[in-house]
Each structure stands twice: as C-alpha cells, then as structure tokens.
C-alpha cells in the first residue's frame, strides 16, 4: 500500500507521466491557444469563487461599510472585528461550534463508513430498501421537522445541551455520508480484499488496512459535509438550545447578531468573516488529506 502511494503520487497529476510521458505529450498539442484559454478560465473561476468572500472581507474592514461600495476599504479599520469578538460573544460561540462540528464529523463519518460498507460490500435482504430509506429521510424539508424533532429531543432529555445538537446533526449528516462513501467503497477492487484474505488477514484487519485508506477521499467529502451542516445549521440550534446562550453555536450567534444589528453591514460582514474563516482553515487542512487520499485512490490505476 504505502509503496504504491509513494510511487504513484506524482503521476496522478498529469495522468500521463511515466515512461510514455514524452510520447503522449507530443500527441497532446498544448497549443498557445489552449494555454491562454485555460488561464482565462482559471482567472474567471477565481473571480467567481472568491468575489463574495472578498466583498465580505472588504465590507468587514471598512469603517464606512454600508455607505457605498468601493473595491478597497474606504476607511480601513478593525473596529468591526473588535466589536464582534467582544460584545458579540463569538469567542464562546466559536468554541461551542468547533466542539459540535468536530464531534459530529467524527461520529457521522464512523457510522456512515460502517453503514456504507454494509450496503456496498454485502448483498442482503432489504438492502435496496435500506438505501432508498436513507435517501428518503433527507428529502423532507428540514423546516417541516422542527416540531416533531423538538419533541423527540425532549423525550431524549437532551434539550438545551450540545449533545442533543450533536445527535441531531449526526442524523442530518448521515444520509449524505452513507451515499457518498458507498460509491467509494464500491470502487475499491474486490481483488484487493481477496488478496488480503489470501495473506491471512481477518475481515477487521482488511477493513483497517485496505478499505479505510482507499475510501479516504470519500471520508474527506463526508467530513466536509458534516462540518458544514453542524457549522451552518441554525433552526434546530435555535429551538433545541433555547435559552442556553452559553451553548450557542456560531450560526445561531450570527443570527441573533443579525437580529440586533440588522443593517450594520460592516459588523455583520465581520461576524460572517469570523465564522467563515475557521471553516476555510478546516477545509484547507482537510484538503491536504484529500490530495493524499486521492493519490492513494490512484492505486486503482
């Protein structure tokens, strides 16, 4: 395994590397036109993806935000950030959210992985039904679930606690995780597993040393999804946490911030920036993992 990832790491990029690279490059005709086109495409893509974030940041740093629009802060200042982090209480919200999101990611990834192995690797009665069920539960508009879910969490005696929130978020993240990972698990060649068995490995050992590394990219996608879900959700946070403000997460914190400073765009954008940055950091960290996960996935080729 490890040797495979090691040697395959680079080649993935061009997908033509190795002994035949030179020949292929010749036939590839990377004309100047193509390169310029690609450059323009990248530039436009970056503009589209980053503009909202950029605009958010500019407004957050502009003491004059809300007055007009300029592409650089007209009156650069950090006062919005100071305000958000002191009066806004976002330090506590961030800590809570981090706890909730990471726990949600861990639990939901684990449960989803186990379940996805079951549906991808085994044929059993009701398998199709289980899969459809998993799909169906996420079709209901969440807003319609507010009342029954509230009652359910109350019955579990988890109202007002972060645990209650985590449990709900795990449930929200699971269907996606199961479907996502199912594809990745299914894509792992059975021959690899069989080879492991031939080497005398148990099922558990095979799971750890073959499946787990190979589905890593899927796990990354699942984690990202779980993280976003837990980070952004506010309707359930609002109803389930109720008055336990010390347990508030960033999304509901931001929402109550909107409520109190409804048109203070500078402060709102600063608060938005504060809660967006940790997600970006998490993503970029995970993305490294994604890169190496992808290369290990490349053993298939």
């Amino acid at each position: 395994m490890s040797t495979a990832t090691g040697t395959d790491r680079r080649p993935v990029r061009t997908s033509t590397a190795g002994g035949t690279a030179a020949r292929r490059r010749g036939s590839r005709r990377p004309s100047a036109g193509v390169r310029v086109g690609k450059g323009v495409a990248v530039a436009l893509l970056l503009l589209f993806t980053l503009f909202p974030a950029y605009w958010m940041l500019v407004s957050a740093l502009d003491g004059n935000a809300g007055r007009g629009s300029s592409f650089v802060p007209a009156e650069p200042t950090l006062e919005h950030f100071e305000f958000v982090l002191t009066d806004g209480g976002f330090d506590v919200f961030l800590r809570n959210s981090l706890l909730v999101a990471l726990t949600t990611v861990l639990i939901s990834s684990l449960l989803a992985l186990l379940a996805s192995v079951a549906v991808a690797r085994f044929r059993f009665k009701l398998r199709t039904q289980v899969l459809m069920l998993v799909l169906v539960v996420q079709m209901v508009p969440l807003e319609a679930l507010v009342i029954p879910l509230f009652v359910q969490v109350r019955n579990l005696e988890l109202l007002g606690t972060l645990t209650g929130l985590i449990v709900v978020y795990v449930a929200l993240a699971l269907p996606f995780g199961i479907w996502m990972l199912r594809g990745f698990v299914a894509a792992v060649p059975v021959e690899l597993e069989e080879a492991a068995y031939l080497d005398g490995a148990t099922w558990g050992r095979m799971f750890r040393s073959i499946l787990l590394p190979l589905v890593a990219p899927g796990l990354v996608a699942t984690s990202i999804f779980g993280f976003i879900t837990a980070w952004n959700e506010f309707v359930f946070a609002m109803t389930l946490l109720g008055g336990e403000t010390q347990n508030y997460t960033v999304a509901i914190g931001l929402r109550s911030f909107f409520g109190q400073h409804s048109n203070d765009w500078g402060a709102i954008m600063a608060a938005s920036t504060v809660i967006t940055v940790p997600v970006m950091v998490f993503f970029i960290l995970v993305q490294r993992r994604l890169a190496s996960g992808l290369t290990s996935g490349a053993v298939k080729g």
Binding site: S15, V42, F71, R127, G183
Partner: protein, 323 residues
C-alpha cells in the same frame, strides 16, 4: 499487495460485483449478520431522529393541526383535505410548482455541468495552480448558506449594492434597479447563490473520480484516435457513472428544497408571492398561519415529488443491482 495492483485495474466504480455473494471466506451466519451489525448504529440514529419525525409529519398532514391542537394534544383527522386544498390551489400551479421545479432543474444542470467543467479544468492543471484553485473553491464551499445569501443580497442591493453601482458607472442603466422584485431576476440571484455554494461539492467529487479513472483506459482510447470530447463521454463518464448518479441525486434533493437562500432574500419570506417555492410555502403556512397540518402536507408533497424523481433517476442512470 502492491503486486496485485495492475490486476485490479478494471474494477471501476459501479462494477463491483457485489462480493457478498462472492466472498470466498464468508462464514455463513456471521456473513449474514455482519451487514446488519454495521448498519445498526446508523439506522438507529436515523430512525429516532429523522424517520419517526418524518412519520409524524406525514400524520400531521392528515389532520387540521393548528396551535389549538398543539396545546391540547388533540387529534383532528380530516383525511386528505389538506392535499385537496393544495392541488386545487391556483398558487401551486401558477407559481409555487414552476418556481420549485424549473429552478431545481436549472440549478442542478448548472451546478453539475459547471462543477464537472471545473473538475476537468482542475485535473489538467499543474500542482501549484490546482492547489490554489481548489483552495478558492473550498472557500466558496465554506461560506455558510446564510452568510452567503446575505453577501449576495448586499452585492445586489438596489441603492448601495456594488452591482448597480458598476452598471451605472458603465452607463448600462440610468437609475438603480431593484433586482429582488422581479421573479426572474430574483431567481437569477438565487441561482447564482446556489451554484456558487453548490458547485464545489460537484467539482471536488468529480475530480476525485477523474483522478481515479484508470490511465490505461484513457491511453487506449487515445491510441484509438478518440478526441478529448469523445474520451470524456466514452471513457470517463461511464467510469464515473456512480459518482454522477450520487452527485445528481443529492443536488436534486438539495435544490428542490432550498429554503434559506430564498427566505432570507428581500421579499422572499412571502411578501413577494411570485417567488414562493414549496419549501418557503410550507414554512410560512406552518409557522406563519399556524396551519401545521397544511404545511406538513406541502412538505409531504415535496418529499413525494423528490422520491418520484429519484426513482426515475435510479432506474435510468443505474441498474437496480448497482445501487
């Protein structure tokens, strides 16, 4: 292990032969119980927190369930009256359903096509640029839907938004335009928002798939003289069938029930009747009008609609055994 790699090559996604039956080492009882052991924790969580609430929503939809019933806990069964009312509502056919369906179709198409294009672009980039661009994509993904919506609203704000300023500076319009009042421009902004937030998932997932496509297949196709387009459709797409299926199904589910991106826009919470969609309609009927039964019926309808679409998808894209 490494020695087996070349042999393993042809087993692409979707071709897994369902090894439950083929596994040579199955100890029969354990083999039969194992999938359920693996499934139980997940199913338990889903059953308690999603399935049962879903069932209750379905039960609400058959009742005249309002604040009074919530207080007293009484049941007030009215059969399918809520559904009859929905289906005879002019609003459903003229506004809500078109808004929901047309928008979902457009946004799924845009998200998937754009996301795939980006994935292909990414796959062709060098290491450095791929890292830069994919980080940017991650940044778009990372922006919470609520925050993102507010940013777009702020950009398109009629009097102070940058969009109108730029248009006026370029002389393209004389006076500020309020883009939120017109049904089409309203949903154009929503589309922009949803695609912006949704394409990273597609791009990253498809990229993962692309990088996993066996090089030998592409090489073989290239040697056979297949052009880039042909290689893409004849080799890559079939290989990524499973991934596309998941991406399309999930995007469809999400885009049909977008809520915050509409609700938080100016006029989106119900004052502009032209822009209601099923999700917002369900919510405003429930929590605004205290007609939880009626709102639940709309939610059930949306669920059934999605279910129908998904079944069609599954039938056409995948064969049952590939599920």
């Amino acid at each position: 292990m490494t020695s087996t790699l070349p042999v393993a090559a042809p087993a692409g996604p979707g071709q897994s032969p369902g090894p439950g039956g083929r596994r040579p080492f199955g100890k029969s009882v354990l083999a039969r119980v194992r999938p359920w052991m693996l499934l139980t924790p997940a199913l338990l969580v889903l059953a308690v927190l999603l399935l049962w609430p879903l069932v209750r929503v379905a039960l609400f939809s058959l009742q005249d369930y309002g604040l009074k019933e919530i207080v007293s806990g009484e049941r007030n069964w009215i059969g399918f009256a809520n559904f009859v009312e929905i289906f005879t509502s002019e609003q459903l056919w003229a506004v809500v359903l078109p808004n929901t369906v047309v928008f979902a179709v457009l946004s799924v198409a845009c998200t998937v096509v754009f996301g795939t294009a980006v994935a292909v672009l990414l796959a062709s980039l060098g290491r450095v640029w791929r890292t830069i661009v994919s980080s940017a994509i991650m940044a778009a993904w990372a922006m919470p839907a609520v925050t993102g919506t507010y940013v777009w609203v702020w950009i398109f704000d009629a009097d102070r938004g940058v969009f109108n300023h730029v248009l006026q500076a370029l002389g393209l319009q004389d006076a500020p335009v309020n883009w939120f009042t017109d049904r089409w421009s309203f949903y154009a902004i929503v589309l922009l928002n949803v695609v912006h937030h949704g394409f990273p998932f597609v791009a990253i997932t498809v990229l993962a798939g692309l990088l996993g496509v066996p090089k030998e297949l592409l090489e073989a196709a290239e040697i056979d003289g297949a052009g880039a387009w042909r290689r893409f459709f004849a080799v890559i797409v079939p290989q990524l069938k499973q991934i596309f299926a998941v991406v399309i199904i999930l995007s469809t589910i999400w885009d049909f029930k977008i809520f915050a991106q509409v609700y938080l826009m100016p006029g989106g919470a119900g004052s502009n009747r032209d822009v209601l969609n099923l999700g917002v309609w369900s919510y405003t009927e429930s929590f605004g009008q205290n007609r939880y039964g009626f709102g639940s019926a709309i939610a059930v309808l949306l669920t059934l609609l999605l279910l129908g679409i998904t079944v069609v998808y599954v039938r056409t894209i995948l064969k049952e055994e590939e599920l």
